[in-house]
Symmetry: C2
Subunit: 217 residues, 2 copies
């Protein structure tokens, strides 16, 4: 987190406000190197945060009709484009990694201060507010964005025939608990998620039933 | 292009309209495997189309203030999220590869028919229209999206100290010609692009001046 900015390797011949914005836009290239726990459907390698964020940005307009509350689709897309940026400095926290999850909020807050602080002050506030909105889930858009964020890796798990569902200690009930956000924003997508879990249980892609402690959602 | 769909490897336990939409959303995972000519700024490997599309989706709201015509930012983000999808079947066509560029339009039209045809008919029309809009550049949003699409790899070239600027036969004037879309949508970003080219010429990251034929923009 104390590394120099990428742009310092090759300072831009552009200064002022635009130079500051471009320095930020170069720094965020790092999101392409933050690996997630999920494996791609198309090839056998782990997904990175930039790919994941793009996937969500396409899933939102395709699935928006299933939101239980009316949402502004364009705004929801902005939320998902921005939602993982703090992981540039804070790293990805896999959903089934309870150890990393304990100090996730703290790490991400520090990362947000650093990253959004690269922008001119007005935009730092604007993009920080998008990230806060996503995290707090107090708007219909943020709740739908979170639902899609939870759904995508589960589609990849299905295609992998298990994926992170096979993490030691994870059972079908743990998966049900950690994907509850989906049904909270969309009953149709919640039902689809439950069909995936039931199918995965039947196929042996997740440990059955109620072993273990579901833990916090 | 005649390969089976990804979803056919593990049919979903969800049918009807939502099943069709999820099959499309799994198929587009392939965009993460379409490599571009550009190298990342953060690490030394080639960028893929999904990463590139995400990067544009963040650049658009950060740089929208520089659009010479008023734009709907949310709509412009949708254009960039969708703009490269046809490359799933048509492949990437590097900007300095004049051979591949000859049949690019034909390959991409066939790919668009196949890919968007996976969606329910109403959404097939909606997403095809976004792609057509981007390609035709008849709206301010499409022109700005195209400008950002051209700017991003040039930022990566700057960070690489050359990148695709060092393609044999490419000179500073070829780069000027192929990046004219930027200045057509934003005089400020056009000026920044010219500063990058001048700086690159000075640093020896692109062949100087007017050697070779700039060719079509």
């Amino acid at each position: 987190m104390d590394e120099p900015l990428l742009v310092e390797r090759r300072p831009l011949p552009i200064d002022g406000r635009l130079g500051q914005q471009l320095a930020f836009l170069i720094e965020v290239d790092r999101l392409k190197t933050v690996l997630r726990a999920s494996t791609l459907a198309a090839v056998d390698r782990r997904e990175n945060d930039a790919e994941h964020s793009w996937h969500l940005a396409l899933m939102v307009p395709v699935l928006a009709e299933y939101a239980d509350e009316p949402i502004d689709v364009g705004h929801t897309i902005r939320l998902v484009v921005v939602h993982d940026l703090v992981e540039i400095y804070a790293g990805d926290t896999p959903i089934y990694d309870d150890k990393l999850r304990t100090d996730q909020a703290e790490r991400e807050l520090a990362a947000a201060d650093k990253l959004f602080g690269l922008l001119p002050a007005d935009q730092a506030r604007e993009f920080r507010a998008l990230w806060d909105e996503f995290e707090e889930r107090r708007t219909p858009e943020a709740r739908f964005a979170k639902a899609i964020d939870r759904l995508e890796p589960n589609l990849l798990n299905w295609m992998a025939g298990g994926g992170t569902w096979l993490t030691p200690g994870v059972t079908a009930d743990v998966v049900r608990s950690r994907t509850e956000h989906i049904g909270q924003a969309s009953s149709a997508l919640g039902e689809a998620m439950r069909a995936l879990i039931t199918g995965a249980e039947r196929n042996g892609w997740v440990a059955a039933g109620q072993q273990g402690d579901p833990g916090p959602a």
